[in-house]
């Protein structure tokens, strides 16, 4: 087929299609609803959830939700063939560094023994398993949305989708999680890690174009 003929055929297929953003909306909203529903039905909300959400402890839920916003921007950005991490990537890296710093200060004040006692809390294993499980649907949705994109680095874009799914899942899991010490934070980070790795692995395979 000559190039002019291909152009004529392509131009006949100019029906508008949804981009990554549109597909994100279409996939992530039901995926998050599914994960939230699963948490309520299978895990159950923690005792006195309403009171917790009305107290300063609501930060535990708001923190991953807040981080999910730059993660969402990062996914959309990495879906473009000409784009690097840019501003959302820098914002996320900055916030992660800030969190690490705050954690180091808390650790210095309260000591390793206290932190270790929190890490081996009764629900640590549940957290490590639940966050990846609750991230399955949003990760699938994010990768599906990214299939409309043309990421310069498929694995990186997949990892960003994994990070977004893990943050959303972590926010949902906080509605069940009984651990309230800030020293517990690394358990969440560890629980999110396999989701990011799965995103990178799947992205490298599914998002090539």
């Amino acid at each position: 087929m000559k190039t002019a003929a291909l152009i004529a055929a392509l131009a006949a297929d100019a029906t508008p299609r949804a981009g990554v953003g549109g597909r994100m909306l279409r996939a992530l909203v039901p995926a998050l609803a599914l994960s939230a529903l699963a948490l309520v039905l299978l895990w159950g909300p923690r005792a006195g959830l309403a009171g917790v959400l009305a107290s300063p402890l609501v930060v535990k839920t708001l923190l991953p939700l807040g981080l999910a916003l730059p993660a969402l921007a990062l996914v959309r950005r990495l879906a473009r063939p000409e784009a690097q991490g840019g501003l959302p990537g820098a914002v996320l890296a900055g916030l992660a560094a800030l969190l690490a710093l705050a954690y180091a200060l808390a650790l210095a004040r309260q000591g390793w023994a206290e932190a270790a006692a929190q890490w081996w809390g009764l629900s640590t294993l549940t957290c490590l398993l639940s966050v990846p499980l609750l991230a399955l649907a949003p990760l699938a949705g994010g990768l599906w949305a990214l299939r409309a994109g043309a990421p310069a680095h498929p694995a990186r874009a997949g990892a960003a989708a994994g990070l977004l799914a893990a943050l959303a899942s972590a926010a949902i899991y906080t509605l069940h999680c009984p651990e309230d010490s800030p020293l517990y934070l690394p358990v969440y980070a560890l629980a999110m890690l396999p989701v990011v790795a799965a995103g990178a692995l799947l992205g490298g395979r599914l998002l090539r174009w």
Binding site: K2, T3, A79, R80, P81, E82, A152
Partner: protein, 182 residues
């Protein structure tokens, strides 16, 4: 938008993304010499036919991934990134690795097709592997210049069904091309 007016690629692409087929045809026609120039400058080892394969690959990819262009961004960096990727793929299909700095691509001169338009071999080969009806729709619209309505009337399909079949045909072509590279 009249055909003689000078319109930026960004404006053409925005119109195309809203379903304006004429603006889209004009954009594709205008970017093609630029893509061909890059393919010939960076892929000289592929030969003239091989370069035309790259050009068609870029057009097909651009088409299926056109929503990945952000409407407030310049179009050229996006186009160069896709072109670069497809030149690399063409070498990869021959078992070779090349590095192409994106910055170099902007300086390449556009290449017109020349008096005798090239038949890209790879595209013809993958069209041959489509189901017969998809291939017929694709050829009727592309080569014979029929409208979707005319093709539909001939095949006893609604215009919408022809559009859907055409879009699926492009997606299938892309998958088949990818399989050729791996």
């Amino acid at each position: 938008m009249r055909d003689t007016e000078s319109v930026s690629w960004e404006e053409l692409m925005r119109a195309a993304n809203r379903g304006d087929g004429r603006a889209y045809a004009r954009l594709l026609t205008e970017v093609t010499p630029v893509v061909r120039g890059i393919a010939r400058a960076r892929g000289a080892a592929l030969g003239a036919d091989g370069c035309e394969d790259v050009v068609q690959d870029v057009l097909l990819t651009l088409h299926l991934k056109r929503q990945s262009w952000r409407e407030d961004a310049p179009l050229r960096p996006w186009l160069y990134a896709i072109t670069r990727n497809k030149v690399i793929d063409a070498f990869r299909a021959r078992g070779q690795r090349v590095t192409l700095p994106v910055e170099d691509l902007a300086e390449v001169l556009a290449a017109p097709e020349g008096p005798d338009p090239l038949e890209a071999r790879d595209m013809e080969r993958v069209i041959g592997r489509l189901d017969p009806r998809s291939a017929e729709i694709l050829r009727a619209i592309g080569i014979a210049g029929d409208s979707t309505a005319e093709v539909g009337a001939r095949l006893g399909l609604s215009e919408g069904a022809v559009r859907v079949a055409l879009h699926r045909a492009f997606k299938a072509l892309k998958r088949l091309r990818e399989r050729m590279i791996e």
